[in-house]
Every structure is written in C-alpha cells, then in structure tokens.
Amino acid sequence: MLEIGNKTFRSRLMLGTGKYPSFDMQKRAVEVSETEILTFAVRRMDIFDEEEPNLLEELDLQKYSLLPNTAGAKTAEEAVRIARLAHASGLCNMIKVEVIGCDKTLLPDPFETMKASVQLLEEGFTVLTYTSDDVVLAKRLEEEGVHAIMPGASPIGSGQGIVNPMNLEFIIEQSSIPVIVDAGIGSPKDAAYAMELGADGILLNTAVSSAGHPVKMAEAMKLGVKAGRLSYEAGRIPKKIYASKSSPEIGMIK
C-alpha cells in the first residue's frame, strides 16, 4: 500500500489527465489503468461554452483522489494562489507543487518550489512536490515536511525515460517519505525501472495520452508499475561479469 499524508492507495500509478485525443478514450484509459489518483490543472472556465466537456464532472469521486497541480506558476505566490483555488473546490486537500523555472526544459525553480511548499504546508495542505532529481533539494524538502517528493525522470513530456538512475536511487535511499517518479516516463520499461529502483509510485501523462493507443498503453503502464514493484520487493539478483551455470554439474551423461 502506498501512503501519502493520511491516505492509502492500492495503485502505485498516478495518471495525468491532459492531452488525450478524445474524451471517451481518456475515460477508458483511466479505468483500465486502475489508478486511484488523477492530476488536474486549474484554469479559467470558458463561461460562454456550457457544453465544454469536463472529465471531473463525470468521475465517481469516491473512486479517485484528485491531485491538482500548480502548473503554470512561475513563482511561489502564483503556485499558492492556484493551490488555494483548487482547495476551495472542496474536493481535495492534496496539491502537486509545480513551479517552472525554465520554459525550454520545464525544469522546476528550486527556490520558488521550496517557498511554495513551505507555505502550503503551513496552510495544512498535503504537499507533493515536483522537483528535479537533485538529491540535496529532495532532502531539504523532506525536512520541511512535504508528504511526498516527486523527482522528474527527465523533462516533462519528453519521454526520455530515466536519464539519471543514480540520483533517483540516492533520493529513494535517503527518503523516508514516498518518492513518486514524475515526468519523462516514455514507456512501461521506464516505469518498471523506476519501480525496481525502489520508487513508491509513478506519475505520468503524455506517455499514455499521446501513445498510439492510449487505452492499451494505460494497461501496459499499470503492468509495468506492478512488475517493477514486485521485482523490487522480490530483490533482483546481483549483476556478475561472468556466467554461472543454471543446470547441475553432477549427473552428466558420459
């Protein structure tokens, strides 16, 4: 079970809800993934379009926990404003703090991220902080009391997979709060790899929503995350340079 703040989850896969080719496909992908946590962004409503489809309004909110993000924020102040708006919906207490510091790489601004996280903790939010794979920053965020740390595997939406497994391992090893690998996952092998390294969960969006077949990919990701987790729990064999026989040497037919 995955524990974040005062909530527990059976699924270790969290899904973003952006960029799906169709509303129907999105609903099916979410269902197949068996995720229990869905991320959302907070934006202005088009008040002139009453028919604007909205996934949230069709969800069984007993089944899913909402994880709104502060995407779009470039300062702590903007992130806090978005978080408060999300919370005022009365639907959630979790917030994914995301404060972007660079438009090209979408890498987070560590200073503003820290500031926003501290402020939102003070206000009683369950804070999940999106950060780079900086080991010391992860530690500092944990010391401030964030409820989960979400290091990126590679830039958001890049599908590059895990570019620095060593840093991720350092973060996982030192952390006593959940580590959710967020951003950059390209395929189920990346998800499985992150889970094998000991991550507590995966958050992804583009890898499913922009896949050739989002519904199939949602299932593949679910299995990838499960496979990786099982492997981590089972304990993989150490790597050796030379071969070692699997079949016995005694009883050979001469």
Partner: protein, 67 residues
C-alpha cells in the same frame, strides 16, 4: 457597470449584482467551479451575499486536464 471576468471586459445593465446571480446568468452553478473576487476566494455559502460592483475583477476557474 463594467467588470472583468476571466480577463474579459463585460458590460452589465445592473449597477449591482451578487456572485450567485452572475453565476446563474452564465449557467455556471451546476458546474464544479471556484470563484475569486478581487483576488479573494469566495466560499459557496457567500455567493448570495457577495456583491459585485463596477470595476470588480472575477476569476471563475475549474479543473481541466493536466499532468
């Protein structure tokens, strides 16, 4: 009066209107939304008492797809 709603200038015949009335006129009430009035979040229970006057700024936000 003139007000700003989600960055758009809107002209209303009324001189005063409550947030509840404004949301009603745009059929927003049944949708999941949050209202910020002059940078202050307004609780749903306060919609009927909160008055909008000339020059006010409103943000009506909701959850959209995102990662």
């Amino acid at each position: 009066m003139n007000i700003q709603v989600n960055g758009r200038r809107i002209q209303l015949n009324e001189h005063e209107i409550t947030i509840g009335e404004l949301l009603e006129s745009y059929n927003v009430t049944k949708r999941i939304s949050v209202v910020e009035h002059n940078k202050e979040i307004i609780k749903k229970e306060e919609y009927e008492q909160t008055k909008i006057t000339n020059g006010d700024t409103l943000e009506i936000v909701h959850f959209v797809g995102g990662g």
